[in-house]
Symmetry: C2
Subunit: 193 residues, 2 copies
C-alpha cells in the first residue's frame, strides 16, 4: 500500500523508517471506481491524492461544453487542484477516475501536522511544487511555439507510460486538438516511419 509512497519520498529526501511510518499515519487510503468523481467543479479541493494504482484526470469545461484536460495522474503521481487546496477557493476543475484506482489522501490539517512532525516533508512538497511550476511553464511555452504534431511527439517522449493507457480522445483533449485531428496526425507519422 505505502511502498510506492516510500520510494516516491526516498527519491527526494532521506527519512528514517520511523519518520516514514509517521508520515504514513497522516494519509487515508481510498479506492475509487472508474467514472467516479474525485472533485467536482465548484467544490473546494479538500485533499490531495497520491495515486498508487490506476489513473485519474483533471479537466475544465469551456463555454461550448468542450472538456480540456489539464493533467493525468497514474501511479507515483499526485493530483489535486493546488490552488483550491491552498486557498480554499472553489475549484474550476473537475477530477474524475479513468481506471479503477487506489489513492492515498492527505487533507490540509494532516499535511500541516505532518510537516511539523517530519520537517523533511516540507522539502518534498516544495520540490513537488517546483516540478509542477516547471511543467506548467513548459506547457505554456510549447503551446505557443509548437504545432499539434510536435506537441504530440513531445507528449509521447515525455509521458510514454501514459500513451499506452489513455484513449486517444483524452490525449487529443490534453493537446488542445480534436480526436479527428490526432487520428490524422498519427496516420501521417506512421506513413513517414
Amino acid at each position: 500500500m505505502f511502498n510506492l509512497l516510500k520510494k516516491h519520498i526516498a527519491a527526494r529526501v532521506s527519512l528514517t523508517d520511523e519518520e516514514f511510518e509517521t508520515c504514513c499515519s497522516y494519509f487515508v487510503p481510498k479506492n475509487l471506481k472508474k467514472h467516479q468523481f474525485f472533485l467536482m467543479e465548484g467544490e473546494v479541493c479538500k485533499q490531495i491524492a497520491f495515486v498508487t494504482k490506476g489513473c485519474l484526470r483533471a479537466y475544465s469545461v469551456d463555454a461550448r461544453g468542450v472538456e480540456h484536460v489539464l493533467q493525468f495522474a497514474i501511479e507515483d503521481w499526485w493530483i489535486s487542484d493546488p490552488l483550491s487546496f491552498l486557498t480554499g477557493a472553489p475549484s474550476t476543475y473537475t477530477i474524475d477516475v479513468l481506471e479503477d484506482s487506489s489513492v492515498l489522501l492527505l487533507d490540509k490539517p494532516a499535511r500541516e501536522e505532518m510537516m511539523i512532525a517530519v520537517p523533511m516533508m516540507e522539502r518534498v512538497f516544495r520540490l513537488l511544487q517546483e516540478a509542477h511550476l516547471v511543467a506548467t511553464h513548459r506547457r505554456i511555452t510549447e503551446s505557443l511555439s509548437l504545432s499539434a504534431e510536435e506537441r504530440y511527439t513531445r507528449f509521447l517522449e515525455t509521458y510514454p507510460k501514459l500513451t499506452e493507457r489513455i484513449s486517444q480522445g483524452q490525449i487529443a483533449s490534453y493537446l488542445g486538438i480534436t480526436p479527428q485531428s490526432l487520428s490524422r496526425i498519427r496516420k501521417d507519422r506512421s506513413r513517414k516511419a
Copy 2:
C-alpha cells in the same frame, strides 16, 4: 521610491511603519535602460524585481528563432524566473526592458532574512505565488479553449493598462499569433463596433 511597494504590501497584509522600513532595507533600487537585459537565457536568476516605473518582459526563443512572450511587468508587478530563482537552475527565459525602468531588486539571501525579520512577508510571497499559479493555469486553459480573437479580448479586459503601452507585435507574441493576424483581428473588431 518605496511608496508603490508600500501600497503593494499594504494591499495584502498590515505592517507597522517600522516593519515596512525593515523590509525596504533588503531591497536594492536600480534603474534600467530600454533594451537592456535583466536576465539572459542560460543565466541563473539571482534576484526578483519589483517594478516601480517602466516596463519589462520575459520571453523564450523557440527552435525557429521566434520569440514568445511569457509575461509583461509594469508598475506594481514583479518579474523574475521563479523557477531559476528558487532552484538555482539556469533560466530558459530572457528578461529585457521595454521602457526605461526603475526596479527594486531582492536576492535570495535578502529575501530569506526579510522573512525572518518580518514574518508577515512570508504571507505576501505566498499570496504572490498563488496569484502566479492562478494566472498560469488560466493561461493554459484559455490557450486550449479560446480563439485568437477571444484571447485578445480577454487580454484587453484583464490587462487594460498594458494595452496602451505595449506594441501590438509584443501583444501578438504573448497571444501566440503573428503581428499580421493581430492587425486583422483588430480591424474586424473595429468594423463590428
